[in-house]
């Protein structure tokens, strides 16, 4: 696998270019196809038409799947099984809390979710969506036919900022509820800014892992959330809780940068330590990183399924 960012189509992964594509599906398609073009691979890699194995026919199997050529040679009924039968669920947990309204985080996150959904759909995976804030805002069950529904929900969320109460997001309570809804083992992509203590985030994600789900944690932040470039003394308002705090940036900047860097580092280490694919995203970065993370996770799942 080669690095995709130097490919001719990589420019389509640039968020600044994507911002000019209004249709979310088109945007996702542009991202995914650009990504695939960079891979120099067939667009239908992993297609469900790939032959996997023969197994003996049992009553109830679809007679259309009987391999008649094998019957002619061996006079036994065998049924063809394809790779598609091993497809998994991809459910995107998208954080639409008020903290995600900061800057272009929500737009970036919805685009990223759409890309994942579209790319996953190309892999014949079932696609679902759960949007949450301090509770579950919207939920689309995973299904091979739900791509458009997922894209529609994402598009609606991107165009109409979800109205959520001014309460801090509590991932543990939200994920506890969602873990009950997601019954089949799935690959869960959690897209959030993770403004919670690392212990709480890990505890929440462990609830999903406990149900056999594979977790991708996609940590979205604005560049200013890391660099804190403000200069004017201002009253900073917490978008989650509406609390206010007078801040003189020049005196807090250095400490803030240090604290949030420690947070990202701690969160990454803790999640990776729990077997979670953690990726930190800056909204100025291309989205192929997320797609690579998805592919990595999917191949890991396939290997695990084959081993199992």
């Amino acid at each position: 696998m080669t690095a995709p960012t130097s490919s001719p189509g990589a420019q389509l992964l640039d968020p600044a270019v994507l911002a000019r594509i209004s249709n979310l599906e088109l945007r996702a398609r542009a991202v995914v196809e650009g990504f695939i073009q960079g891979l120099h691979r067939a667009p239908h890699l992993g297609s469900s038409t790939d032959f996997a194995e023969h197994r003996p026919y049992v009553p109830g199997d679809d007679t259309r799947r009987i391999d008649w050529k094998v019957y002619a040679r061996s006079d036994r009924y065998y049924v063809k099984e394809f790779e598609a039968d091993t497809n998994t669920n991809l459910i995107v947990f998208l954080d639409v809390s008020r903290s995600m309204l900061y800057g272009s985080k929500l737009a970036y996150a919805t685009t990223l979710a759409a890309c994942l959904a579209y790319f996953s759909s190309l892999q014949r995976d079932r696609v679902g969506l759960a949007m949450f804030a301090n509770g579950v805002v919207d939920f689309v069950p995973a299904s091979a036919k739900h791509l458009r529904l997922v894209l529609h929900s994402l598009d609606h969320a991107a165009r109409n900022v979800p109205k959520v109460a001014a309460n801090p997001t509590r991932l543990r309570s939200v994920f506890q509820r969602l873990s009950d809804v997601v019954r089949r083992r799935s690959m869960v992509a959690v897209i959030s800014d993770f403004y919670e203590e690392p212990d709480d985030v890990v505890a929440a994600i462990n609830m999903l892992r406990g149900r056999g789900n594979d977790i991708m944690a996609l940590h979205i932040l604005e560049p200013s959330e890391r660099t804190f470039p403000f200069t004017e003394s201002s009253n900073f308002v917490d978008l989650e809780s509406d609390e206010k705090m007078p801040v003189i940036p020049e005196y807090l900047r250095e400490g803030y940068q240090k604290v949030i860097a420690e947070h990202i580092d701690t969160l990454g280490k803790r999640l990776v330590g729990q077997g979670v694919d953690y990726s930190h995203f800056d909204t100025s970065q291309p989205m192929d990183k997320a797609l690579f993370a998805y592919l990595g996770a999917r191949s890991r799942i396939e290997r695990a399924q084959k081993v199992g």
Partner: protein, 690 residues
């Protein structure tokens, strides 16, 4: 640089406002939405550092703008320097004030004074300048500013004490003018005097330039007492056709010891009589000389005493003339009451200042010769004379005499047209009225001397009957009765006056003849009748003698200095400065035959009351400082354009403040643009537009 409205400078406190804003503004922030404050709260926070000011340049611009605006409102202005331009050298400008009043002639005062001036002049360096002002009651600069000590010595050696008293004010004012015009670095006044207390009046306005040094040389020490002839009174008695004069001299001992001096009366330059007089310490004695005959023209007379250390007041000069006072003619009607003019004639008879000659005639027996040289004519209930006699009276009035008309019970009922045109009032009937003398016009010359005594003195005069006077010809009522009726009505006629009196001149209708004001009032009437034409027996130097009524005359001073006065001369007067006899004579009059005018020194100068020179120095220098302070206000004098130009600096200040504020706005905006704005919470623009 001065300030018109310094109270506005209190507004400089407003500079604290931008400082406060720069500190408070940090608390008054814009609201910035931020995803979460959880990490900000973890950062240690030092509140003390919040007091640190930022944008110091911006703060300085704002403070400076406020300061400039306030300075503009305080209205600064430029003024001329209070002192002359800086001197090119360290030389001195010395002004010597040399007292030459006649008291300086006492003992060796004058010798010591001139020696002191010479010493000062000899101490003058080549870079210094000295000038000399000789002063008595007036001041004169006798030496222009010079560094030549010899010139000062020569001029001062020609000076002598005058006959005038001491007045420091004019000398200091002249010295101030010289010093103000000087460009020398240091200014000095050296006052050489015997420091008579009378010479300095608290009302003298003296304004010396700033940083003027005043030094004094007191030459009054070690002098003995003085005896002076204080005054002379001449009383005249008519003996047949001759007038005899009795001279009474008052001799004053100003010293502390008993003195006996000889007093000699000289008439026409020859001793007439000598009397010894003994005068106690600080006391006065009278010397009465026997009566002497007088001539028709003024005779020169001198009373001398034994010379002492102060010769200026040892002789008293005066003139004795036959006709030296007022002359009153009282005309009574035929069959007048007994003593009808007694109270008036006796009141005038006792007058001595001036002496009054009184004659009472019956109107029917009076002749034009009786009117000769009369200054006051009284018609005491006599009818207004008609014909030539009446015309002569009117002409005499127009020439300066006073006519007093007293209608009484019987007189002046019918008026001829000639009199009707001249009189101030027509005469009505007599009526009984028990009342009082109510009001008096104290501004009138007749009553002016009584102004300080109060009107109650006149209101105590009672009456029982009066003659109604109806004002005509613009006559003015100068006294009224309590019922408002005119008591005295006056009208000018030519240079003389006509007065009409509603009461009687005796005690028939009023008690005025018994009132204490009766005699002074009639004396004032007599004095007024000769006002402007009286011949005074002596004057006190300095005095300006009015010669406007004279033709071409020559005035010769006692020292022989002659002054020619012609009708074209301006002014037609001469200042009498020397003691002794001046002579005023016409062009054809022989020397010695002219009219003598006696001049004496002011006796107040003989008062040896001395005061501390330091007191005088403190007074004039303190006034100088105050005057310099007031000079700040005087600097505002000038044209409106000049005043506006001096104050125009506030326009420039205001313009500068506007420019500064504009620069501040630009700078502030640039800082605002440089400040990082927080990311908006808007989503990607493209998504919204879609």
């Amino acid at each position: 640089m001065g300030i018109l409205a310094p109270a506005f400078l209190a507004g400089l406190l407003a500079i604290g406002i931008p400082v406060l804003i720069h500190m408070i503004n940090r608390e008054r922030r814009e609201t910035v939405a931020f995803p979460s404050l959880m990490f900000l709260r973890k950062v240690p926070y030092k509140s003390v550092r919040r007091q640190k000011l930022r944008h110091l340049l911006l703060l300085a611009m704002r403070c400076l703008a406020i300061a400039i605006i306030i300075a503009a409102f305080a209205r600064p202005f430029f003024q001329r320097p209070l002192t002359p331009p800086a001197a090119a050298s360290d030389g001195r400008e010395v002004v010597v004030l040399l007292d030459r009043s006649y008291s300086m002639g006492l003992g060796t005062r004058w010798t010591r004074a001139t020696a002191a001036v010479n010493t000062i002049a000899n101490d003058i360096r080549s870079t210094d300048r000295v000038s000399v002002i000789a002063f008595d009651a007036t001041a004169a600069q006798v030496v222009e500013p010079t560094a030549d000590a010899g010139r000062v010595d020569r001029v001062v050696s020609t000076l002598k004490p005058s006959s005038a008293p001491t007045k420091f004010g004019p000398a200091f004012r002249m010295a101030a003018q010289i010093l103000t015009a000087s460009e020398q670095a240091r200014r000095e006044i050296v006052l050489v005097s015997d420091f008579h207390r009378i010479g300095f009046s608290p009302n003298d306005e003296v304004a010396l330039p700033m940083r003027t040094t005043v030094k004094t040389v007191d030459v009054s020490r070690g002098e003995s007492g003085d005896v002076a002839v204080a005054s002379v009174a001449v009383s005249r008695q008519t003996d047949g056709n001759r007038v005899r004069a009795t001279v009474t001299a008052r001799v004053t001992n100003l010293g502390a010891e008993m003195r006996t001096v000889n007093a000699t009366l000289e008439l026409a330059g020859r001793p007439a009589d000598t009397r010894a007089v003994r005068v106690g310490p600080r006391a006065t004695a009278q010397v009465v000389f026997p009566a002497t005959n007088t001539a028709s023209i003024a005779t020169r007379a001198v009373v001398r005493i034994t010379p002492d250390s102060q010769p200026a007041n040892d002789a008293f000069y005066f003139t004795i003339a036959e006709d030296a006072g007022a002359s009153v003619l009282i005309l009574e009607p035929a069959g007048a009451r007994a003593n009808q003019s007694l109270f008036a004639s006796r009141a005038w008879a006792v007058a001595d200042d001036p002496a009054v000659r009184v004659d009472v005639r019956s109107s029917s027996a009076a002749t034009p010769l009786d009117l000769r040289n009369r200054s006051l004519i009284v018609l005491n209930e006599a009818d207004l004379p008609a014909g030539q006699f009446g015309e002569q009276i009117r002409q005499q009035v127009k020439a300066g005499a006073i006519l007093l008309v007293v209608p009484g019970e019987r007189g002046s009922v019918g008026l001829t047209p000639e009199w009707r045109a001249e009189l101030p009032a027509s005469v009505g009937p007599a009526s009984d009225h028990v009342g009082r003398w109510a009001s008096v016009d104290f501004s009138n010359a007749l009553f002016e001397p009584f102004k300080t005594t109060g009107r109650s003195d006149f209101s105590s005069v009672t009456l029982s009957r009066y003659r109604a006077l109806n004002v005509i010809n613009g006559g003015s009522v100068i006294a009224r009765l309590d019922d408002g009726a005119p008591l005295i009505v006056e009208r000018a006629s030519g240079t003389g006056r006509i007065l009409m009196w509603a009461l009687s001149l005796d005690a028939n209708w009023t008690d005025a003849p018994f009132h204490p004001l009766w005699v002074p009032l009639l004396h004032q009437l007599a004095r007024r009748s000769i006002a402007g034409s009286e011949v005074r027996s002596y004057f006190t130097a300095p005095h300006v003698l009015d010669l406007s009524r004279e033709g071409s005359v020559v005035v010769e001073s006692p020292s022989g200095q002659r002054t020619r006065i012609s009708p074209d001369s301006q002014p037609r007067s001469v200042e009498l400065k020397e003691r002794g006899f001046y002579e005023v004579r016409g062009g054809s009059t022989a020397i010695g035959a002219g009219r003598p005018v006696a001049v004496n020194v002011d006796l107040s100068e003989s008062d040896q009351s001395h005061f501390d020179p330091a007191e005088l120095v403190a007074a004039v220098t303190a006034r100088g400082e105050r005057s310099a302070a007031r000079g700040n206000d005087a600097l505002f004098e000038g044209t409106a354009q000049e005043l506006e130009r001096r104050q125009a600096v506030w326009w420039y200040l205001l313009f500068g403040a506007v420019l500064l504020l504009a620069g501040e706005t630009m700078f502030s905006n640039r800082l605002s643009r440089r400040a990082v704005k927080p990311p908006t919470t808007a989503i990607i623009e493209g998504a919204q537009n879609g």
